[in-house]
Every structure is written in C-alpha cells, then in structure tokens.
C-alpha cells in the first residue's frame, strides 16, 4: 500500500474535480461522493500506518521532475515515514468526521456542493503537503492550503467580515511565506537541492556557514509562523472563525494550522544544526502561547476562545520543538520532538472535537456569544458531554489524551526553568478559560431565555462524529503512555528515540495546574465566590488589553496596512504627476518648441518670401499705370527716353552723376511718371463712347 500513497492524496482531488464538473447540481450526491473518497483515503492511510509500524526505515519514491534545467531540478516525490503516516491518519480521520458533520451543518446552504468541493480540495492540498519529500513540493502544497483556507474562510463571502477575514488570512500567511521563499533560495544556493534528505545531509556535514543555517532555519520557520498563526502573524486566525464552523474545525485547528508545526518537525534536522534558530523558535512559541492564553481568558465569542486556544496550543508545540532543537544542539537528549508531534496529534482530535461541539451549540442557539448561553447541558445530551470530554482533555486531566501529550511538553521544558514556569502557567490558564467556556455554556441558568427555548440537539450526521472524536480525544493519548514499551516515543522520533519514564511529580504538577484552573473557573462562574465582574473592574486596564487582543490588529492597521496603502496612493500620484508628468512635460516642451519654430517660420522665413512678393506686388501696383494701352504713350515714352540717352551720351547736358544716383533718379522718374499716368483721364475714350 505504501507505494500507492499518492492515491490517498489524489482521491480528494478527484472528488473536487468530479463535484466541480459533474456533480455540482446534485447536492447530496456530491456530499456522499466526497465523504466516500475521503473515507477511502482514511482506510488507505490506516493501511499505510500499519505498514509503517512494521517497517524499519523510511519509504521514498523516485522523484518525478517537473522542471529540469541543467542542475536545477524541481521535483515531486513522497516520503513515508512515521511522521507522514501519523499525519495522514490524523488528517483523513478528521477530514472524514468533518465532512460527515458538514452534511448536517451545511444543510440548506445554497452552495452546499461547493463546500464539499472546497473541503476536498483542501484535503488534497493538506495530504500533498504531508507526503512531500522536498521543500519545493512542500511549498506548492503549502500555498495551496492557503488558497483553500482563503476559499473556505470566505465561503459566506456576502458577509463583509468573512470577505475581510479571508483576505487577511491569505495575506498574513503570505507574509510568512516571504521568509519561506528566502529560506528556499538560501537552501538552493547553499545546498543545491530541495530534497529533504539531501539538504539535511549537506547541513549535517557542516559545510554551510552556521549563520546561513540560522537564517535558513528562521526563513523556513517564518513560513510556519504564518501558517501556524504564531506571533507576530497570529492575528488572522481569530478572524478566520468567520468561516463555517466545520472549516474552523479542520482547517483552522486540526490540520492546516498544524502544518507549521509539521514543517518545523519535518525539517527538524535544520533547526538542530542551529541552536540560535531553535531558541528563536522556542521563544516565539512560548510568547505566542502565553499571549493567546491571556487573550482567551476574556473573550466571549465561543469560536474565538477556541481560536486563541488553538494559537496557544500551537505555540506549545512550536516551543517544544524549539527547545528540542536547542537541547539537541547542545547535546542534551530531549523529549521535545516527540512531545510536540504527540501533542499535534492529540490536539488535532480534541480541538476539532471542541470546534465541532461549538458548531453544534451555535447551530442550536444561533449565536456565538457565550454570555447568551447557559444550561445547555440539559438540552444537548450528546454535544454537552462530548464537549466536556474535549475540555477535560485540553485541560490535561488524567487519563485523557491531552494529559499525556501536555505532560511530555512540560517534560521537554525541564532544563529551561523560565519555560517550565510559563508552560505551567499557560496550562493553568488553558484549563481556566476552557472551563469558563464550559461553565458559561453548559451549566448554570440560561441567561437568554428565547435562545435556550429554541435550543435542540443537532442531527445525527453532526452528533456521531462528535461521539467518535470524543472517544478519540479520550483514548488516543494511550498510544503514548510511558509504560508502553513500543509506544509513540519509539515510533515517532528524530535522531534517537526518547524513552519517557513515569514521574509522579510530573503527574502531580499537571493535575494541580489543570485542576486548579478548572476549580478557579468553577468558583468564579458557578459558585460565584469570586465575582468575574469585580475582577474585571479591578484589573480594568489589563482586562481591556487582553480583551482587545493586545491591540495587535490596531497596531498592524496603523503601522503596516495604512502606511502601505498610503505609499501606494502616494506612488500613484507620483506616477501620474512626476513620471508621467515628465513624459507629458517632454511632449509639452516639444509642442512649445514647435510653436516657437512655427512663429519663426511664419514671420521670418515665410515672411522673407512673402515680403519679396509684397515688394514686387506693390511695385507692380504702381507701375501698372504706365500700361495705358495707348500706343502713342509708349512711343512718347520711348522717344523721350531715347532723347535723354542721346543727350547723356553726348554729354550735352553735362550732367555728371554716379550710377546709383542715376538709377535712383531713373526709378523715381518712372515712379512719378506712372503716378502721373494714373491721373491721366481717359477722356478721349469716353468721348468716343459718348459718340456711340
């Protein structure tokens, strides 16, 4: 089966294409078809997992080149190792549950078929990301999950908030991808390959300068920061809750956002080579986790609490991975890697359960505000208990799944006291806000009657997946119990297998902090021993700070988005005024110069020509009067002239003049004569006419 793993990936794609091109109009058929496809994928994934359990070493396919230019190759290939096998099963399991759940949840939606098409496309991308054996292919599917996340968040795009949220999600994760791309460029430049094993080999050999390895690792981690909604790119995930709840359940809690953790785990060898990069990872992880937990304490939107909880838990995993990198780089054997991947799996189950439960609640009361709920446990006999199981699990209560994995994360922080303290603090807060949510939603008295009146249990398509996931959330941790000789730790490890051991102190601490959180919530929201309102008023500034999500959205809006838009508008003005102005200015200058030339041409060049013509014309106008038409006038004229010439010739008159003066006199004489001729009346002709 392992050699046909690609089928697991392609089946959802097939489902997507079939729905889009053939089944679009038959709603139930599309849904059933896509459920069938992902269920088949699930079965095959389980087979792959079983085969992987029994096999030593990893399975690689021959890479398939999609570009080959000399040494530059872009390839597709798959690697099936324990991490892949685990993720395949997790993704397909939750995928199947969510698709079945969606049949009930999305009922009556006008774009029912399209929802299943998108979900199938998402599962295709996610599974492709999981089996990838090189950075390039990872990046391809990395972006594709981003696309499907965009589509799914914006599924109800008529709502402005959804339309904004999907854009925000895409762009924010893209910012992280910038780092990823830089990381990829560094990888290509220094390693000459994108293949995971080859890159790890090159980096392991130590030929790449350490500073480059650090940058490279941080670059890759940037991608993870974006996808896994870590600080400072976490702001998109709460907004992403605008999508339908099944989407939040699979894309934004269990799988896609876990892809960042998966990526860091997958490329752990790179981080292990750089303690600095790993430290960055760990610090970002713990800070995100703490920040998100504080925000979750005060939120009232049920999905947003879960969203911040997701961010917080992802921060946990990232931190564990980072600490693993730090420890391993320093030669200390750490459970971090196994803890993080273990928590990745358990978290996927209980968080998707919680989201689906929340979806079921929202479906029943038609509001997201937990302040308007209360006492729903009586009305929702399936959703309520399953949700509580999930909450116990995330709070880390023995012996549920969350207990085992969270314990290991705490164990991974030993050796870094600050981290240990913060981790426990976060565990406490997690238990508190989750149980605050539970108490407000399911216990106590209904706070808004009409919502409570209409509340009802969800249909079977929604409740069965809840039951199944509650079961998983309860028991899946058992694969990692410390006394199991070939448990999770010896199945999924990086470098050398870590063997967890049973520690009472560990157990004690975990239960104390988890139980303490639940107890505090109980005291505040059920017993009313400590009034939430009084607390709120006493710590008003802190409350506001948390309630407004540490003002990150406002900060980004003011510091990044607005300036960029302003620069864009400014650039546009610059473009129109300066650059285009220069072009148009050149044209205008040319036109002006042309006008000057035209003036010169008209008045000077053409003026000379016209002037000559004018002079000739005016002379002609004068001399024409000599042309009397009377023969005898001409004769007199010539006779007189000849007489003058004769007189001059023989110097009879003794006139001694220079030729210019002579000429001038001559011309003047002719002029005078012609003027005189003008005034000679034409008497004779008139007379003769009169005679007639």
């Amino acid at each position: 089966m392992t050699e046909h793993t690609y089928l697991i990936v392609l089946l959802p794609l097939f489902s997507f294409l079939t729905i889009v091109f053939a089944l679009r109009w038959k709603e139930m058929v599309s849904a059933v078809f896509s459920v069938g496809m992902i269920a088949t994928s699930l079965l095959m994934s389980i087979m792959v997992l079983i085969e992987t359990l029994g096999r030593h070493g990893d399975y690689y396919t021959a890479a398939f080149s999609i570009v080959e230019l000399g040494t530059f190759k872009l390839q597709l290939g798959m690697v099936i190792d324990p991490l892949t096998a685990m993720m395949l099963v997790v993704v397909t399991t939750i995928g199947t549950c969510v698709e079945i759940y969606s049949i009930g949840y999305m009922k009556d939606d006008p774009r029912f078929s399209r929802f299943f098409a998108y979900l199938s496309l998402f599962l295709f991308s996610m599974l492709g990301l999981v089996i990838s054996d090189n950075f390039f292919m990872t990046f391809i599917f990395w972006e594709l999950v981003g696309l499907t996340s965009y589509l799914l968040i914006g599924f109800w795009f008529e709502k402005k908030s959804a339309a904004d949220a999907c854009k925000k999600a895409f762009l924010t994760t893209r910012v992280g991808d910038l780092g990823f791309i830089v990381g990829l460029m560094l990888i290509w430049f220094y390693c000459g390959t994108f293949n995971f094993t080859d890159v790890f080999a090159v980096i392991g050999a130590g030929t790449v300068p350490p500073i480059i390895v650090t940058f490279l690792a941080i670059g890759v981690f940037c991608g993870a920061v974006g996808k896994s909604a870590q600080f400072p790119l976490h702001t998109w995930l709460p907004d992403a809750m605008e999508g339908p709840t099944p989407v939040s359940s699979i894309v934004h809690s269990a799988t896609m956002v876990a892809a960042g953790v998966y990526l860091v785990a997958r490329t752990m060898s790179v981080f292990v080579a750089s303690a600095d990069a790993s430290m960055v990872v760990a610090v970002i992880g713990i800070f995100t986790s703490l920040m998100a937990a504080t925000i979750a304490l005060v939120q009232v939107d049920i999905k947003r609490v879960l969203a911040y909880s997701t961010i917080s838990q992802l921060g946990y995993m990232i931190m564990a991975l980072g600490l693993y990198g730090v420890d391993t780089a320093n030669g200390i054997h750490s459970p971090g890697f196994y803890a993080a991947t273990f928590h990745l799996m358990t978290h996927a189950f209980f968080k998707s359960l919680l989201f689906m439960g929340a979806g079921s609640v929202i479906h029943a009361v038609h509001t997201n505000d937990i302040m308007e709920m209360g006492g729903l446990l009586k009305k929702m006999k399936i959703t309520g208990p399953t949700f509580l199981i999930g909450s116990l699990s995330i709070a880390g209560i023995f012996p549920l799944a969350g207990f085992w994995s969270k314990d290991e994360i705490v164990a991974a922080t030993f050796g870094h006291p600050i981290f240990t303290v913060l981790t426990l603090l976060i565990a406490f807060m997690t238990a508190f806000y989750m149980w605050r949510l539970c108490f407000l939603t399911f216990f106590g008295k209904p706070r808004v009657e009409h919502r409570y009146e209409h509340a009802h249990e969800s249909p079977n398509t929604m409740s069965y997946p809840l039951i199944f996931l509650a079961f998983m959330a309860a028991v899946v941790g058992l694969v990692g119990v410390p006394w199991l000789p070939h448990g999770f730790a010896s199945f999924l490890y990086h470098g050398e297998a870590y063997h967890p051991h049973w520690a009472w102190m560990n157990l004690g601490i975990s239960i104390v902090f988890g139980g303490g959180g639940i107890l505090l919530a109980y005291l505040m929201y059920i017993k009313g021993v400590i009034s939430p309102d009084a607390m709120m008023n006493r710590f008003k500034p802190i409350y506001n700070f948390f309630y407004n999500k540490w003002y990150f959205d406002e900060l980004y809006q003011a510091a990044i988005i607005n300036p960029i838009m302003a620069i864009g508008r400014w650039m546009w003005t610059f473009d129109a005024k300066v650059i285009d102005g220069a072009v148009n200015g050149t044209a205008a200058l040319t036109m002006w110069w042309a006008d000057v030339k035209f003036w010169i041409d008209k008045w000077i060049v053409d003026g000379a020509v016209n002037g000559a013509g004018f002079i000739v014309r005016s002379m002609g106008a004068l001399l024409k009067y000599l042309q009397t038409g009377r023969m005898q006038f001409y004769m007199i004229f010539s006779t007189v002239f000849i007489i003058i010439m004769i007189l001059l010739k023989f110097e009879i008159a003794h006139i001694d003049l220079d030729w210019p003066v002579m000429t001038a006199l001559f011309i003047a004489a002719i002029g005078l004569l012609s003027v005189a001729a003008k005034f000679v009346p034409d008497e004779v002709s008139q007379e003769s006419e009169n005679e007639k």
Partner: protein
C-alpha cells in the same frame, strides 16, 4: 517556408478582408478568425516539431535565407527560430486568434479593424522570426501602425491621447535602436546586418562602444517592456484600448521588449552587460515593488491589471539581470509566457465584465460571486495565477526567477524583490474582494449575466495552458533548455 507563411498568411488575410464588402460584418469576422487559425495551427505544429526534432541543440532551426533583399546594403531576408522564439510564436499565434474572437463585439468599422489586426499579427510574427536587423526593425515598426489605429479609432474616451503617446514613445525608443543598429553595421567588417554574425562581432567592440550600443538598444526595448520609469504609456494605452488590443498589448507586445533583449542586447554586448547588470536588477526590483504598490491604489480594473504588468515585467528584468543563471533565464521565458497567458486572460475577463456593466470602477461592484459563479471562478483562478499560486504558470516563473537570481545577483536585492509576492497578493485580493465578495447589489447589477460561450472559448484555453505550464513546466523548459544554456555561455563570455 514555414516561418514566412507565419508572416505572410496574416497579410494575405488582411488583403482578403480588405477586398470584402464592408457591409458583411459577420462574414468579415469569421473570415478573419478563420485565417488567423491557420498561423495558429502552424505555430502549434512548429512548437511540437521543434520540441521533437530541434530542442536538443541551440542552433537556429527552420532557417530561411539569407536571401538578398537590398544587396548594396547587404540587407537580407533571413528568418530562423530557436528555443526562445518558438514559445513566443506559440503565444502570438494563440493570442491573436483568441483576441480576434474576443473582437466580435466591435461595432463599427469592422472591416478596417480586422484588417489592422491581421497586419498586427504579421508584424508580431515577423519580429520573433527575423534574424536580420533591417528586417527586424521593419517588423518592429510595422506593428506600430495598426496598433496606433486600433487604439486611436476603437479605443475609449481618451483614445487619441493614448494612441499618440504609445506611438511616439515607442518611436522615440526606436530611434535609439536605429542608431545602435547603424553603429553595429558600420563597425562590422564586412558590413553586415545579420544578427547571428553581429553577436560574434559585438563582443569585439571597445567597452565604450559596447556601452553606447547597449544603452541605446536598452532604451528602445525598455520602453516596450516597459521598464520603470518608461512605463507610463502602458496604463494609458491599456485603459483606452479595446479589450482584444489590450490582450495583444500585454500578451505579445510587451514580450517583444524582453525577447529583443534576450536576442540582441544581452548576447551582443557581454562587457556592457556585466557592467550594468546590477543597475538593471535595480530597475527590475523598483518595477516589481513600485508596480505592485501603485496597483494597490488603483480604482479602475484595467488600470490595476496594467500596473500589475509593470510589476510582473519587473520580475523579467530582475531575472534578465541574472544572466549567468540558466534558471533565471528560464524564469524570464516562463514569466513572459505566463504573463502573456494570465494577463491576457485578465484583460479578457475585465472586458467581459465591461461589456455588460459598462464600467470598470472597482468600487462600483461587489458580491458578484453570488450572481456570476462561473465568471467568478475563472477570475479567481486568474487572480490566483497572477499572484503566483502554485499549480499555475506564474508560480513556476517567479520561483525560478527568485532562485536563479538569488544565486547570481546581490542577495539583498532579491530579498527586497520577494516583497512583491505579498504586495502582488494584496492588490489582487483587494480587487477580488471588492468586486466579487461582499453584498451583492441586486438593484444595480441584477441584470448581469454570466460569461457566455464565445467568451469562454477565449479564456478557457488560456486557463488550461496556465494550469498545464504550472503543473508540468518541464514541457516548456525542455523546449528551451539547450538554447538557454548556450545563451548563458554567450552572455557570460
């Protein structure tokens, strides 16, 4: 014969169209499309045949000539293609036919329109196959004429301004090219205009002369690309031009600039290239960021796509500056092809909307997704392709450009260029949100109809090719790898 037929079939088509009675508008349309299908099929066959028979070597294939044309000047009729011109011919053939189909909505002076369009096709084909400078220059200039009229007669409200600006700007560049060609001609011995010989000759010129020629050629081609800051004719021309002309403008004409750089500028002047490559990369990066930022502020759909072209062609310039890397060079060609496909398709899509709504204001729309599902899906696909989503051609080219440029150029510069990826996503998504998402204004746009069959016929081939190149780029990279490897060697000599 085959290359000549690519040039002369459209010209014959133009003559046929001109001889037809102008009242028979439908007939003219079908005849024009029918004729343009022939060079399209030939270009497809040529691509296939080149792939099968010639893609292994860098030599010119299907050479025609040199036949003496003006013997006293040693001007020859000389055609040939290699791995960088074949994809361009493919693109030209395809986009010409598609644009002609998209031109069916032309309402007046139909005969002249289609005649000009066929002449334009002939000119474009000619540029991509000419191996003689004189011939190249002739084709380069021939195209301007139909383009001028196509924008100036059938364009939008400011068509005269746009067409004159386009014409004069390009002509301004062409003069520099002419001077550079003359320098090349008179410094060669014996005087020749054969590009292949001049590639050898250019390397022997003195550094000053190389720089002069390089810059002169660069100005001519940069205006066409357009490289920042020579880009301002582009938004005007795009916005005013009819849809089909925008498609050709973005799809083929802009590519002529980068093609000419790869064919002429880069291999001929290796010293100058080495000196200037950093600054070319800087221009490219400015183009990427600047184009994207300006796109972000646009309110007109077509103008947004036009400025996104500036950004996308900036990637080409960045990669062109990384002339030492085959990957980057392949990135250039991939980007040329994918930009031709994607931006061509985006213009077609905008045209579809404009035909129905008679406005292109982004803010005038909203929520079209619920009324026009097929149109929205296609637009989403092309927007995603434009912002470089994997699985589409734009991603492959950007990825190759980044990886290739990073290994050769200043790495900080490439790092800045990567920002274009986010900004690109920002303006595409902003547009998509404002037009397609949100509340649908039933009162205002209730009458809009979804994309029709003829329009689908124009965009679906582009969609399929975008996906095909994106999913299996090897089909394209194998076509050009031998040529590019040779080219990189020539450029780095």
């Amino acid at each position: 014969m085959i290359l000549s037929s690519l040039i002369f079939l459209p010209i014959i088509g133009m003559i046929i169209v001109m001889l037809m009675p102008k009242e028979k508008e439908d007939l003219i349309k079908y005849v024009a499309v029918g004729i343009s299908v022939i060079p399209m099929v030939i270009s497809f066959w040529l691509t296939y045949d080149y792939f099968v028979n010639f893609s292994g070597s860098a030599a010119m294939a299907y050479m025609e000539g040199p036949y003496a044309w003006i013997p006293s000047l040693n001007v020859n009729y000389h055609l040939g293609v290699d791995g960088i011109s074949v994809p361009m011919l493919f693109l030209t053939g395809l986009l010409s036919t598609i644009s002609l189909i998209a031109s069916f909505s032309i309402k007046f002076r139909v005969k002249e329109y289609f005649a000009f369009f066929l002449l334009l096709e002939a000119g474009m084909m000619g540029v991509f196959v000419a191996l003689d400078f004189f011939l190249f220059y002739v084709f380069w200039e021939i195209m301007l004429v139909p383009m001028y009229f196509l924008i100036g007669v059938w364009g939008g409200p400011r068509k005269e301004y746009a067409s004159i600006k386009f014409f004069l700007y390009t002509l301004f560049g062409s003069i520099f090219m002419l001077v550079a060609i003359l320098i090349m001609y008179f410094t060669s011995d014996p005087h020749t205009l054969n590009m292949l010989e001049l590639v050898e000759h250019g390397g022997t010129l003195s550094h000053t002369l190389q720089m002069t020629c390089f810059i002169f050629f660069f100005i001519a081609f940069a205006i066409k690309v357009p490289v920042w800051p020579f880009h301002t004719w582009l938004p005007d021309a795009h916005v005013q031009a009819p849809t089909a002309v925008s498609v050709i403008l973005a799809g083929v004409l802009l590519k002529m600039g980068t093609y000419a750089m790869l064919r002429i500028n880069w291999p001929m002047f290796p010293d100058a290239l080495q000196t200037l490559s950093f600054w070319i990369a800087v221009l490219g990066v400015i183009g990427i960021i600047y184009g994207a930022l300006v796109s972000l502020a646009q309110t007109d759909l077509k103008k947004l796509v036009a400025y996104s072209s500036v950004s996308h062609m900036g990637y080409c310039m960045l990669a062109l500056a990384a002339y030492g890397s085959v990957t980057a060079m392949a990135g250039v060609l991939f980007q040329m092809i994918s930009h031709g496909l994607i931006t061509g398709a985006l213009f077609l899509m905008v045209g579809v909307l404009y035909d129905r709504a008679h406005t292109r204001e982004i803010s005038a729309f909203g929520g079209l997704g619920s009324k026009l599902p097929v149109y929205t899906a296609l637009m989403l696909m092309f927007s995603m392709a434009a912002l470089g989503l994997p699985g589409m051609s734009g991603f492959v080219s950007e990825f190759m450009i980044f990886v290739g440029a990073f290994s050769v150029l200043n790495q900080y510069l490439v790092g800045i260029a990567v920002l274009g990826v986010v900004l690109g996503a920002a303006y595409m998504l902003r547009m998509f949100q404002n037009v397609f998402l949100g509340e649908f204004n039933m009162a205002k746009w209730g009458g809009l109809t979804d994309i029709n069959g003829r329009e689908l016929l124009t965009v679906v081939p582009l969609a399929i090719l975008t996906l095909a190149v994106g999913i299996y780029p090897k089909s394209l990279s194998d076509l050009m790898s031998a040529t590019l490897e040779n080219l990189v060697q020539i450029m780095s000599r």
